[in-house]
């Protein structure tokens, strides 16, 4: 079962801006999904189309098996969105915002849930203040509480941690992880890639309105991540033409302390570490030290998006 099945979704804004171009993604129910991309990639456009704030130009979306565009009310009841832009009714206090939103979604305000949300998001002591008096971080948390108040099965957060300090961010993530463990599907965008790598079990990277990759996080980190084998000889090694030919499969690079080889995967799927190591020893003898460094999410992100931009230009 998928929380979201996005099929060929496209958006061309009135000014001719093609913000999203034939995007297809599936978000499994119960997953903690990271939607990543550089600024202007089209993340907010995608989210806003699901939220019914932006009109789609083409494509279809199914939410928990229901057609989003023809069964809007059914879907909206099960969806909570934290928009990227912060906006509140200046006449409302946090507790009123949450009660109002409950009502708007057709739910009787559940005061114990509202109290829990306020407490967990560290807003309880500010519950009676006007929203204008809240700091940026508090407002962002109030947006999160607002998105959760009707107990949606799918929560979409568009940069929920922008401008939130490390400590608070950690607690916010903890809270979201808890929601996730209760079965809520969570899709979020963020620029903190290390945090996304740690938290999310699925990831999609989009740029210029197109999907560059979309898969389980573990798969991305294992299969897509490139690894380098560093061999330390305690001295600079100058690669001869013969060295380059012999090690061609590993794209050898010189480094201050030795050489660096690129690892890949053999036909069976196992790493080429062993072969590379043997080849290096055959050319330069045993190293003093060696190590493997794999790309993390940020490296992969940068590699994919840079490559995409190079191909485009």
């Amino acid at each position: 079962m998928y929380a979201l099945e996005i099929n060929g979704l496209g958006k061309v804004y009135k000014n001719g801006n093609r913000a999203l171009d034939d995007v297809s993604l599936t978000v499994p129910q119960g997953s903690f999904y990271a939607l990543l991309g550089p600024n202007g990639a089209g993340k907010s456009t995608l989210i806003n189309m699901i939220a019914d704030i932006v009109r789609p130009t083409s494509g279809s979306v199914r939410m928990f098996g229901h057609d989003l565009f023809s069964e809007r009310a059914w879907c909206k009841k099960r969806l909570g969105v934290v928009p990227q832009e912060i906006a509140f009714d200046p006449f409302f206090t946090p507790i009123e915002v949450l009660r109002f939103t409950s009502g708007l979604f057709g739910c009787k305000p559940d005061d114990s849930w509202i109290e829990e949300l306020l407490t967990r998001l560290e807003l309880f002591e500010h519950r009676g203040k006007g929203t204008r008096q809240l700091s940026g971080g508090m407002r962002r948390r109030l947006l999160v509480a607002q998105a959760l108040v009707h107990r949606p099965e799918l929560v979409i957060l568009d940069e929920p941690t922008a401008g939130v300090d490390v400590e608070l961010r950690r607690r916010l993530w903890g809270f979201m992880r808890e929601q996730s463990s209760k079965g809520t599907t969570i899709l979020l965008t963020t620029h903190y890639l290390d945090e996304a790598e740690e938290l999310c079990d699925h990831v999609a990277i989009i740029d210029r309105g197109r999907v560059l990759t979309a898969r389980p996080m573990r798969e991305l980190l294992q299969d897509i991540a490139a690894s380098d084998l560093w061999l330390n000889y305690g001295r600079a090694i100058v690669l001869t033409d013969a060295d380059r030919i012999a090690l061609a499969a590993f794209e050898p690079r010189e480094s201050a302390e030795g050489v660096c080889l690129k690892l890949g995967r053999a036909a069976g799927g196992e790493s080429t570490f062993h072969v590379a190591y043997q080849a290096a020893v055959a050319r330069f003898g045993p190293p003093v030290d060696a190590g493997v460094k794999s790309e993390d999410l940020e490296d992969i992100f940068l590699r994919l998006t840079t490559k995409d931009r190079e191909i485009q230009s």
Binding site: Y13, K14, N48, A51, D52, I53, V54, R55, R72, A73, W74, K76, K77, L79, V81, P83, E85, A87, F88, D89, P90, F91, F100, T101, G103, L104, F105, G106, C107, K108
Partner: protein, 256 residues
Amino acid sequence: MRPINPRGTWTLFLREIRRFLKVKMQTIVTPALTAMLYLVIFRYAMGDRDVPGMEIDYFTFLVPGLAIMAMMQNAFANTSSSMIMGKVMGMQIYLLMAPLSAIEVVTAFLAAAVVRAMIVATVFLAVLMPFVDISLQHLGLILLYGVAASLIMGGLGLISGMWAENFDNVAMVTNFVIMPLTFLSGVFYSVKQLPELWQQINAFNPFFYLTDGFRYGFLGIGDTDPFASVTIVLGSVAVTFVLCWYLWHIGWRMKD
């Protein structure tokens, strides 16, 4: 959207009520006072004269007209200000994201506009009660025309608010469209006093029928037959409602 969300509609309606009650000085008291000010000024300007062609003094003639003028202007102000405020401050997206059908949203907004209009008119009339003999000859007509005028004006306010991009745009519509049309709707005079040409032009002012019918409800006299105009009035309400529904449905000037 098929499924209805009565609680959501009610919640939005209550919010709209609260919105104007929080600033009741500006939304209730001032409009009622303004109407009274007009009354006092015209009372002194016109003296005890009767309205030509009607057996009624000016003062009594003015009261229902001023009441419905205040209703129309306040119904318009309520929806247009809410809409433009939501837009400018970015809050409208919460309404777009909520599981409410366009009919429900429009109903909540218009109902709140009617309530505000009724409160303003009631305050105005209640204060005048000791000074004028306000008869209610046809209560049904009064309610029908009062509610219809508020619905039409509330609807126009909704549309103007959706169309507008800033508060200035709304002020422009208010000052250059709504004010003249309501002022010239026969609040201050009987059309029979007007030159022939103006009488004909006036026949195309929709607010003229509303004002005249409403006043007929109080005084039992008017320039038109309010029973004959009922279909026009109800038709106008329906057209306004359908237009509001359609524009909200497509997210006119709200959804990119």
